[in-house]
Assembly symmetry: C2
Homo-oligomer: 898 residues x 2
C-alpha cells in the first residue's frame, strides 16, 4: 500500500534528502536534518504523490490519507507532549507547500494553525503571556483568512488601522492583549462577511483547509505558466509540510534568525547571519526592527553597535555554531538556515543550499577544495559558468539609486555611463577629449566599429542578442543594451525619446548590459577583481575539459585579450573587419566598382599589402596556435558609402561619376541580404578576391615565421562543388606563393557549416574539407527562418509563450539546429575520419550550448575573447556531466587526470 | 578476353541496339539496322571500353586491339570486295565518334579515309570519274588536316580561293580534275608547313590517326565541361565507328538525303524528307543547292516545282518507303534517317529517334496508340510534359525577324508585345483604351497586381524564376521575362537602357517568356490550339497517375481556369491577395496602425465581410473539391503605402498624422523580410487577425453551402507549439461560429512545411496537424540560404559552373531540400498515419520535381492553373516510372486500370 505521509522529528523520521521528488525540497531537507539528530520541531510531510492522486481523482484524496495524517499528528502530539485542539497545552502547527523546486504563485505558509477561542486560552496559560497568545491568534486568522479563504489582506489591515484610530494609538506594539482580543472578534466578523461562512473553529477543519489550499494552488494559472516556461511537469506535484510551531517571540529568552554558513556575498568563511530577540521569523525579513549580527566578527564588519547573538546568547550561539559545521560537513555546501530559539531551546526550521554571488561561489568552491570538503570536480560544478561574466566586467553598485528609463536586451555584460552621442564621429571626437560616451543607434553597422571602440557602451533600439551591435560589443568586451524597443532614437533632432521623457545629446545615461536596464544620469559602478581563486578554478577546468577553447578575434588587441583569457587559438578571424579601416575602404570600394576582372585585380593588388601585414601581425601573436581565417563573407554593399556626403566624397576620390555610384548602390541593394550575394558566392563570381586573400594569408604566415598552420575557411558553402572550386583557388595560390618564395608551410582548407543544405550534404562536402566550423548564428537564422536583426518584434513573445524555452540566438536550439549540427558532424566524419569539427557562432560562449557540443563530441568551441573563461569552465562541467551520464568509471577519470 | 571491336554489315553483325553503352548510340543503331537486314555499308565499332582502357593506361591501347581492328577491316574488305589502301578498287572508310549521348566538342567525322596518291587512281578507275576522285581526295585532306591534324580550315579555303583567282574561275564547280589535283598538292604542302610533317600517305597511319583523334577529343575542355554540367561520367567513354564509304555523288544515279518517318513539325503521318541527286550528305545540310522533297505529297505541300524522289527514282524510293515502315515498326517511334544511293543502290547510314515539336509529339503519340504501335503508357512517356506549355501559350512566329535587346530568365511562358509602361496605373489606363502594354519594373510587388493583369506581359530587371513577378505571372498565365540584369529601368526619365540602346515609354517591345528574350518592336506570334489529341492524352494521364493535382488560386477567375485545366481542388489559396483590393487596403492599413487589440479588432471587423464573401465565392466554384486556405503570410509592411503621395493620402483618410505613418513604416521595415515578422508569427503576436480569417472561412463556407471541407493552413510554422496555439484559435472560432449559426461543417487544420526546423521536428508538429503542405519556395530559400529575389546576381553563374544542375527554384533540389521533404513526410506520418501530404511550391508544376513527389509518395501536388496539364501528365509519367523502378508486375497495372 502506498505510504502517503512521512513523519520527521526526534523520535522517528521516515525520509531523507534523497526523497526530494516525493517529499519536495523542504520536506526532504527537514527529514534529513531530523535523521541527523538536529533539533527540528517534529512534523510530517504529505507526499507529492498525494497531489498527483488528488488531481487524477477529481480533487479527491486517497482513502487512507486521513488515517495516516491522524496517526502522524498523534506522533507529533506525543513527541511534543501537546494536544492539537487541546485547551491545555495546545499543539499549534505550520502548514507549508514544498515542491521539488520553489515556484511562484504557489501557496506558501500558514502559521499558528490550531488556534481558536479555546486553544488561545491554553496558549496564554502555557506561555504565560496573554498578549502573545491573542496576537498569535489574530496573525493566524489574518494569514489563514488571506491565503486559504481568499480575503484581501488590506481588509485585515483596515481593521487594525481602525482600531488604532479609534483608540488613539500609534502602532501595533501599543495594542494590549485585550485590544488584540477585540481585533480577533472583528477579524472573525470580517471573514464571515466576506466568505459567507464563519471562520473555522475546528482545528481539523483548519488543517484540511490549509492542506487543500496548498494542493489547489498547484493549478493556479501563475504556477501553470511558470511550469510551462520552465518545463516542469504538472505531474511532479507539490508536497505539504505540517510542522509543530515553535516561537521566537515568547520572551527575552526567545529569538529567531537566518544564517549562512559562509558569507554569500564574498564567500568568506565566517558565520554570517542576523537574528532578533523576542521576534517571529517574518520580523527579521520585514525590516521593521533592525536585525542584529550573529557574530562579533559580523558586527564589527558592519560597524554595528547592536550586540551580536554570540554576546547576548553565548550558550545557544555555541550550539548553533556547532550545527553550522555539522550542516556544512554533511551537505558539503554553504547552507542557508532558519532557526528559532524558544525559551532558550534552539530549533532549526529549514536548511537549504545558500544562494551566492559569482564571486562568493568561486571563493567557496576553491576554499572547500582546500578544506578537502569537496573534490575539484565538485568545485567546478559549483560555479555557474555564465556568472563569470560578472567577474570580468564592471557592474553597477547595487546600493546606487537607479532612474530606470526602459529595459532592452542584456546584449553584452557590464555597466557603462557616458554622454549620449548619435554617431561614430562624435563618439570618437569626444572620446579623444577624454569624455565618456554611450553610442546610441537604431542599429549598428560595420561602419560604426570605430565609434563602438571609442564609446564606453552601446545602446540600440533595434536588433537582438546576436545583432551586429551585440556581437561586436561582446567581442570587444564592451557593455551593450540592444533592441530597447521603447526608445526612439531621433538622431535628426539629436535626442532620445522614451515614453514621455526626452534625453538630449550630451546628457548622461547609464546602461547595464547584464540586465538590459537603461538609466538616466550616472550610476556608480564597481569593478570586481580576478583573484587567485579564479586562476585555480580555471586551472582545474583546463585539466578537466576535453574540448579546446578558441576565440573569435581579428585585431591584435582582441587576439592578445583572447590569449590572456586562455584561448588556445583563433576559431574565427573575420577578414572583412580588416576592410573597414579608413585607409582601406577606398580600395575596397574601388574593387567593387571595377567592371572588369582586370581592374578588380588592380584594386585588389592595392589591398594585398595591408591584408598581408594584418595576417603577419596576427600570426606572430598566435605563434604555435591554430588560426582559422574566414575569407570575405558580407555582401559587397556593406562596404559602400551610404550617406550623400560619403557618396560624393568617394566618387570624387575615385574619379567616378556620383550618379554612377548611386546606380551601382541601387544595383547591389538586396531584398534579403542575409540570403544574398555573399560568402562563397562572392568567391564563385569573383575568384580573384579569395585569391588575393589566400595570397595575403600565405605571404603573411611566411613573413611571420614561427609555427603557424593557417586554417582557411570558406563561408556559406551549400554544395560540395563550391568548396571544391574554392579549394582549387587556394591550393593554386599556395603553390604559386611557395614557388615564388622558395619556402612553404602546412595549411588546411575547410568550411563553415551555416546553411541547412551544407549540414544535409555534409558527407559530400567533407570530401573537400579538412575541417568544419559550425556557424550557428547563420545556421539558426536559416533553420528557423528567423532574421536575428528582425526578431525583436516577435521573439520576446515567443519566449514568453514558451514556444522557445530560450532565445535560440543565445542558446542553441538543440531540437532543430542541433540536429543539423550533429547530422553534419557524424556524416562529415564518416567521409573524412580526420575532419576537425568545432563551433564558432555566438553559441560557442553559452554554457548550455557548450554542453551540447560536448555531447556530440566536437573538437573545440570558439567564442568572443571575454567569454573564453566561461567556455573553459562550461567545457569542464560538460566533460564531467558527460562522464557521469555515460557512467564512466572513476578509474578512467583518475587515469586521465594522471 | 575482352572483345574490343564489334563488326556490322550484311555478312555478320556482333551487336545490337541494347549495347548502346558499349557501342555508343550511333554504333548500336548501325548494328541494329544491320542485324535487321537493312542495307547498311559494312564497318565496325571500337567500343567505349577501349576509350576507358586508353585513359586508364596512359593513352595506350589494349594490346589485342590492333589485331581485332585488322581482322574487322579484313572482313569489311571481303564483304565489299575491296582493298583498304589498294590501288585497284580501294576501300575507303569514314571514321566517326559515337558516345552514349552526343556531345559538343567531340571530333565528329572524317570521310574518304584511305585515299592517297595511289588509291586515288584506283578510285578514279573504279568510279570512272577523275574529277570525283580528286575532289574526294582533296576533301579528305581538308577534313583530316583540320580535325585530326589541327590545321585551320580557313587555310584550306584560302588555297581554293587562290586557285580560283589565279585561274580566273568563279566557283568550285568550275574546277576540273586537274585543278583538284593541283590543289591536292598545295594542300599537302600546307599540311607539311603547318604541322612539320608530311600528310600521312599510309592508310593504316591515317586510320589510327583518326581513331586516336576521336579518343583524344573525349578529354578536350569543352567536352569535359559539357559532361560536368550534364553529369556524364568521364568513365563512359566514346566509341569509334569505322564504316566503308558509299557515295551519293558518283553520278546521276546517285543521291543522298535525310528523312523523318513522320512530319516532325506537325506529327502528320506522311514520309517527310529531302534529297539531292549526285550529292554528298553535307550538301543537303549546307544549303548550297535547294534540297528536293522525297514525296509528291511533300512537294505539293511545299508548293515546290522540283521533282520528288518518288518521281525521279521511283524504284529506289519504293525500297526506301518500305524501310520507313520497317524502321517505325521496329523502333516503335519516329525515325530520323540518313541515306545514300550509290549507282542505284540504297544504303542507310544512320537512324535515330526523330526530334519533334510539342504539337507533333502529342499527335504522334496519340496516333501511334490508335495504330496499336505503342501502348497508352508508352504514349504518355513520349510527350515531354514541360513542352505542353508551348501548346497553352502563344509563341513567337519562328520565321519572324527578331531584334534582340537582351536575355533574361524565361519566367512565365508565352510571347507578348506591347508599349513600354513603367507602372500599374499607366498599364491599366492604356489597357482600358485597348492598347497592349508590357509592364516594365525593377521588380514587382503585390501593389502591381492590377497592372500585371492589365498588361500583355511583364518584364523585370531583377528577381529570379520564383520572384514575385514570375510567380504571379505564371499564375495568371501571362508571359514574363524576369531578372533581365542588363536592363536599367529608369522610371524617372521613363526609359529603358540596355547597353547603348534606349527604349522610351510608349515604344513597343516584345518579350518571349519561354526563352527569356527581350526584343525591340513587335514580333509576330502564333497561337497553337488544343486538339482532341490533347484531351485523349490528358485522359490517359488521369487514369494512370496516383497523385492528385490541385491548383494555387485565389480569385474566381484563377479557380475557374484551374477547373478547366483539370485541377482537383485548390492546394494554396493565398488570403493576403484578397487584401490588396483598393477598397480593402485602407482597412488593412488601419488594422496595422491600431495600437491596441481593441482598435485592431475594430479594423478587422470591417475586413470580415469582404473576406467572407471572397471565401463564399471561391467555395461555390470549388463545390465538392478540397480548398486549402493559407492564413495571412506576408510581413505587414507589404501592405503599407510607400510613395509620399500614398502616405499622405492614407494619413488623411485614416485621420493619422503623416509623420506617425512614416515612423510606423520605419518601425516595420525589416533587414531580411523573408526571415522576419510574418506567417504564424503574426498569428502569435496578433491572434485576432487569424481569428477574423478563420471566422471568414467558416462563415463563408456555411454561406456557400454545398460540400466543402476547408483546409486551414498556418504558414511558416517552425515549432509544434506555434501550430498548437493557432489550432486552438481556429477551433475556438469554429465552435463560436457553429454555435451562432446552429450548423457546422467538417474542416482540417494543417501547416505549410517551409522551414528546415519544421521539417526536422515534423514528428512533433504532426501531433497538431491534419495535413502538411510543403512550401518548397521558402523551404528552398531557407535550406539553401538563398533569397530568390537576390539570386539573379549569382545563380546563373552557379548553374553555369554546374554547382547546381538546374535552378533550384525551378526544379527541386533533391539532395538538400528534397531530403528535408522526405524526412518530414516520413516522420509526420509516423506520428499521424492519416496525415495528408502535398506540395504547393512552384515545384509542384515542374516535371522533375513531380517525379520526386511520386517517389516519396506525396498525396498531391499543387501548381499554378496554367501548369495543371503539365502536372497531370508529369504525375502519370512519374507513376509509370515508379512502377517500372519498383518492378511492379504488369498484372498489377492491369488490375489498377480495371
Amino acid at each position: 500500500m502506498t505510504k502517503w505521509v512521512y513523519g520527521f522529528g526526534a523520535d522517528q523520521t521516515d525520509g531523507d534528502a534523497s526523497l526530494r521528488d516525493l517529499l519536495g525540497g523542504k520536506g526532504a531537507n527537514l527529514a534529513e536534518m531530523a535523521s541527523l539528530g538536529l533539533p527540528v520541531p517534529p512534523g510530517f510531510t504529505i507526499t507529492t504523490d498525494v497531489c498527483t492522486a488528488y488531481y487524477d481523482n477529481d480533487q479527491n484524496y486517497p482513502e487512507t490519507l486521513k488515517a495516516e495524517v491522524d496517526a502522524s499528528l498523534a506522533a507529533v502530539e506525543k513527541s511534543m507532549n501537546m494536544k492539537f485542539g487541546g485547551s491545555e497545552n495546545p499543539l499549534l502547527v505550520s502548514v507549508r507547500s514544498g515542491a521539488r523546486v520553489s515556484m511562484p504563485g504557489m501557496m506558501d505558509t500558514v502559521l499558528n494553525l490550531g488556534l481558536n477561542d479555546e486553544t488561545v486560552q491554553g496558549l496564554a496559560k502555557q506561555s504565560g503571556d496573554d498578549r502573545f497568545a491573542w496576537d498569535s491568534y489574530r496573525r493566524f486568522i489574518q494569514m489563514y483568512g488571506n491565503v486559504v479563504l481568499g480575503v484581501d489582506h488590506h481588509e485585515f489591515e483596515d481593521v487594525i488601522d481602525g482600531f488604532l484610530r479609534h483608540n488613539d494609538l500609534k502602532q501595533d506594539t501599543d495594542i494590549t492583549a485585550e485590544g488584540w482580543q477585540e481585533i480577533v472578534e472583528e477579524y472573525k466578523e470580517l471573514v464571515e462577511r466576506d466568505t459567507g461562512k464563519p471562520f473555522p473553529h475546528d482545528p481539523q477543519e483548519q488543517l484540511w483547509g490549509a492542506i487543500s489550499a496548498v494542493f489547489d494552488s498547484w493549478m493556479v494559472p501563475r504556477a501553470i505558466t511558470y511550469r510551462r516556461i520552465n518545463e516542469i511537469s504538472d505531474k511532479w506535484g507539490t508536497a505539504v509540510n505540517v510542522q509543530s510551531m515553535v516561537f521566537g517571540n515568547m520572551g527575552e529568552d526567545c529569538s529567531t534568525g537566518v544564517a549562512f554558513t559562509r558569507d554569500p556575498a564574498t564567500g568568506e568563511n565566517y558565520f554570517y547571519g542576523e537574528y532578533l530577540i523576542n521576534a517571529q521569523g517574518e520580523d527579521v525579513v520585514a525590516g521593521i526592527r533592525t536585525p542584529q549580527s550573529l557574530t562579533i566578527q559580523g558586527r564589527e564588519k558592519e560597524g554595528s553597535d547592536l550586540p551580536s547573538m554570540e554576546e547576548t546568547m553565548p550558550e545557544v550561539f555555541a550550539k548553533l555554531d556547532i550545527l553550522r559545521t555539522k550542516l556544512e560537513t554533511h551537505f558539503k555546501d554553504v547552507q542557508d538556515i532558519e532557526f528559532t530559539v524558544q525559551s532558550g531551546e534552539l530549533y532549526l526550521l529549514q536548511t537549504r543550499t545558500g544562494k551566492r554571488t559569482a564571486q562568493a561561489a568561486l571563493k567557496i568552491a576553491v576554499d572547500m577544495v582546500d578544506e578537502k570538503l569537496i573534490t575539484q570536480d565538485e568545485a567546478l560544478l559549483r560555479v555557474d559558468a555564465s556568472s563569470l561574466d560578472q567577474l570580468l566586467h564592471p557592474t553597477l553598485d547595487p546600493n546606487a539609486h537607479k532612474d530606470i528609463l526602459t529595459k532592452g536586451l542584456p546584449a553584452s555584460p557590464g555597466a557603462a555611463s557616458g554622454q549620449v552621442v548619435f554617431n561614430s564621429d562624435d563618439a570618437e571626437a569626444l572620446a579623444n577629449k577624454g569624455v565618456s560616451v554611450v553610442l546610441c543607434r537604431q542599429e549598428t553597422s560595420p561602419e560604426d566599429i570605430s565609434g563602438m571602440h571609442a564609446a564606453e557602451g552601446v545602446l540600440t533600439s533595434r536588433g537582438g542578442m546576436t545583432s551586429h551591435a551585440a556581437v561586436v560589443a561582446r567581442g570587444m568586451g564592451k557593455p551593450c543594451v540592444a533592441g530597447a524597443g521603447e526608445i526612439h532614437i531621433d538622431s535628426a533632432s539629436r535626442m532620445i525619446r522614451v515614453r514621455d521623457r526626452e534625453i538630449k545629446e550630451g546628457e548622461i545615461i547609464t546602461i547595464d548590459g547584464s540586465t538590459g536596464e537603461v538609466m538616466a544620469g550616472e550610476v556608480a559602478t564597481i569593478q570586481a577583481e580576478l583573484s587567485g581563486d579564479f586562476e585555480s578554478l580555471m586551472g582545474w577546468a583546463d585539466d578537466r575539459r576535453r574540448m579546446e577553447i578558441r576565440a573569435n578575434a581579428e585585431t591584435p588587441l582582441d587576439a592578445k585579450t583572447a590569449l590572456e583569457f586562455g584561448a588556445q587559438g583563433i576559431g574565427l578571424c573575420r577578414t572583412e573587419h580588416m576592410f573597414f579601416d579608413a585607409d582601406r575602404i577606398q580600395n575596397v570600394r574601388e574593387m567593387i566598382f571595377a567592371v572588369t576582372e582586370e581592374s578588380r585585380r588592380d584594386a585588389l593588388e592595392k589591398l594585398l599589402p595591408a591584408q598581408r601585414s594584418d595576417f603577419a601581425g596576427l600570426f606572430k601573436i598566435m605563434d604555435g596556435l591554430p588560426v582559422t581565417v574566414r575569407l570575405l563573407d558580407p555582401p559587397l554593399h556593406e562596404f559602400l558609402p551610404h550617406s550623400e556626403a560619403d557618396i560624393e566624397h568617394f566618387a570624387k576620390t575615385a574619379g567616378i561619376d556620383g550618379d554612377q555610384v548611386r546606380r551601382r548602390l541601387g544595383d547591389l541593394t538586396e531584398t534579403n541580404p542575409m540570403l544574398g550575394h555573399r560568402g562563397v558566392r562572392l568567391g564563385i563570381t569573383y575568384p580573384e578576391i579569395y585569391e588575393m586573400q589566400a595570397r595575403a594569408i600565405f605571404e603573411g604566415a611566411l613573413e611571420a615565421g614561427g609555427n603557424i598552420i593557417p586554417e582557411i575557411m570558406i563561408p556559406l558553402v551549400g554544395a560540395q562543388k563550391e568548396l571544391a572550386m574554392m579549394r582549387g583557388v587556394v591550393e593554386k595560390t599556395a603553390a604559386a606563393v611557395f614557388e615564388e618564395q622558395g619556402k612553404s608551410l602546412e595549411y588546411m582548407v575547410g568550411t563553415m557549416i551555416e546553411l541547412p543544405r551544407a549540414a544535409l550534404t555534409a558527407d559530400e562536402i567533407a570530401h573537400s574539407a579538412d575541417f568544419f566550423s559550425f556557424g550557428t548564428n547563420d545556421l539558426t537564422q536559416t533553420t528557423l527562418g528567423m532574421s536575428r536583426d528582425d526578431a525583436a518584434n516577435f521573439l520576446p513573445s515567443y519566449v514568453g509563450h514558451g514556444i522557445f524555452e530560450r532565445d535560440p540566438f543565445t542558446t542553441l536550439d538543440v531540437d532543430g539546429v542541433g540536429r543539423l549540427v550533429e547530422l553534419a558532424k557524424v556524416s562529415g566524419r564518416a567521409t573524412n575520419p580526420d575532419l576537425k569539427v568545432g563551433i564558432c557562432g555566438e553559441h560557442g560562449g553559452d554554457p548550455a550550448s557548450i554542453m551540447f557540443c560536448e555531447q556530440i563530441e566536437l573538437d573545440y568551441v570558439s567564442c568572443s575573447p571575454y567569454r573564453v573563461p566561461i567556455a573553459r569552465l562550461a567545457a569542464a562541467q560538460a566533460s564531467i556531466a558527460e562522464e557521469a551520464r555515460l557512467g564512466k568509471p572513476e578509474a578512467d577519470k583518475a587515469k586521465k587526470a594522471a
